[in-house]
């Protein structure tokens, strides 16, 4: 165990295998911490973190904030809805102003792909990407792999299928990078219109038949259809999508083996998975949420240890 090879968490693409291993080992310790009667450690007492959310979020924002508070960091929050961004301030100006209030780390979600990479080149602070457009969502991918590792022992050699709206999903891309780095076999499955044209160049299998995909896999990561990002119709109706790509209990029970169901949230119950699947014992959706806090604590702790005052 040593230190991360990077000063920012901009995407899984910039990490190596040892980084992921280190984050997981650190998260193991934090998972023990958050299951104590008193769940807080004083490690980051002298660190201030700004959570900048230029796009809506519930789970990720709460999870980051909780992780920061459990590490005793000071936290300031910002959502674009109530800010001067509306008055025409640029991203660099907004962030630089915040940094001059002596902030050490920035957790940012932004609708534009590459916003975090851009920021990391222009401001002096550790940047954590909490989702940039349809590009990457590294902490989600880390917690997904961590949950698979927890359930199945290791990620290496496992067959994992990502089902649904691959085209608009940052979770899909980060997951593909993270899973491949750890030696898993990755498949994407969904309607042709929602699968990027050259995705097979990343070395993933492509399947349009859900039954074939689920019979192949050990773990299925069910993504949400991102209606808010769709400017045109990618499939005729939601009902038809559900018939082709939705998973219900009957379907799950008819498979050759017992697979694990994951979902990054928020779930559209009855669309990509039904309630009885989401709440079944094959689902690890709530474990993912708990692991999210431990993973984010690990990421923030490891990045903070590289900040020198």
């Amino acid at each position: 165990m040593s230190e991360l090879s990077v000063n920012h968490l901009l995407g899984i693409k910039y990490l190596n295998k040892q980084d992921i291993q280190l984050i997981f080992e650190t998260a193991d310790h934090f998972k023990e911490v958050i299951n104590r009667p008193i769940k807080k450690v004083p490690s980051l007492r002298d660190i201030t973190i700004a959570n900048l959310f230029f796009e809506n979020s519930t789970r990720t924002k709460l999870s980051f904030e909780l992780a920061e508070k459990r590490l005793s960091a000071d936290v300031i929050n910002f959502s674009s809805g109530q800010s001067s961004v509306k008055k025409g301030e640029t991203l660099i100006d907004t962030v630089n102003n915040i940094l001059f209030m002596k902030v050490d780390m920035v957790v940012m979600r932004h609708p534009n792909p590459g916003a975090c990479v851009f920021l990391s080149k222009h401001v002096k602070a550790s940047i954590v990407n909490a989702g940039d457009g349809a590009h990457e969502h590294p902490t989600q991918a880390l917690l997904d792999s961590y949950s698979i590792r927890e359930k199945h022992g290791e990620v290496k050699g496992k067959n994992i299928v990502i089902v649904g709206d691959i085209l608009h999903s940052r979770v899909a891309l980060s997951n593909i990078f993270a899973l491949q780095l750890q030696g898993a076999n990755v498949m994407v499955c969904g309607p042709k219109t929602l699968i990027p044209k050259y995705i097979d160049k990343l070395g993933v299998k492509v399947e349009t038949n859900l039954r074939n995909a689920l019979n192949w896999c050990d773990v299925a990561n069910m993504l949400r259809v991102q209606n808010e990002r769709m400017d045109i119709s990618y499939f005729p109706t939601t009902r038809e999508y559900t018939q082709q790509y939705g998973v219900n209990k009957e379907f799950l029970d008819s498979l050759d083996k017992e697979i694990t169901i994951m979902h990054p949230g928020p779930i559209n119950r009855g669309v990509e998975i039904t309630s009885d699947v989401a709440d079944s014992k094959q689902s690890i959706i709530l474990e993912q949420v708990q692991n999210g806090v431990a993973i984010r604590m690990a990421v923030i702790y490891l990045l903070a240890s590289k900040i020198k005052h």
């Binding site: 769940k39 450690v41 980051l44």
Partner: protein, 179 residues
């Protein structure tokens, strides 16, 4: 670099038995007492003491926990390397118990300060005591003293005390290393 033997295997063994006896004198049957070994190096000593209490002095119920203090240290980001965490394993509450912290070398007292904060996560103990194999005199940064000490030594700051354990280093011994 030169080194000098402070304690050999026989001396370590005698001291461990003496410390165990001192614990029994104070804590009787250990019904209200728990032993907490401090990660990483205090764990070997804690395991030894617990073993001696169980096997040689027939104390039945010894509760032994391991406490990692990494996230509670006050030198986070001040060293060259990131701090490495270890496992904490305390599967009991310390509420209203007497705790004996066990560590191999007491030097500046900063680890013990961190341990005093860390243990609060597991309840409010009645009393906390400190047992240490080696007490480096005149080197404390904080007002912390051991309740049970194996050997008190005078060591200047350039020197290092190294405690070896059979199960980890192949022999029981304590060396004074001059850098």
């Amino acid at each position: 670099m030169s080194q000098k033997v402070l304690l050999n295997a026989k001396e370590v063994n005698i001291i461990l038995h003496r410390l165990a006896c001192q614990l029994i004198e104070k804590h009787n049957d250990f019904s209200k007492t728990v032993l907490i070994g401090l990660q990483p190096r205090g764990v070997f000593l804690a395991n030894r003491i617990a073993k001696i209490l169980k096997e040689d002095y027939k104390v039945k119920d010894i509760q032994l926990g391991l406490l990692d203090i990494t996230f509670f240290r006050d030198d986070f980001r001040r060293g060259d390397k990131p701090l490495e965490a270890n496992t904490t394993s305390i599967n009991f509450l310390v509420e209203n118990k007497t705790i004996v912290f066990i560590d191999d070398v007491l030097y500046t007292g900063r680890s013990i300060r961190a341990a005093l904060t860390a243990i609060q996560s597991f309840g409010r103990p009645n009393e906390i005591e400190l047992l240490t194999l080696i007490d480096r005199r005149f080197s404390r940064h904080l007002p912390i003293q051991p309740d049970y000490r194996g050997r008190q030594v005078d060591v200047i700051n350039d020197e290092k005390v190294k405690v070896n354990w059979m199960e980890n280093d192949g022999e029981d011994s304590v060396y004074l290393i001059n850098k």
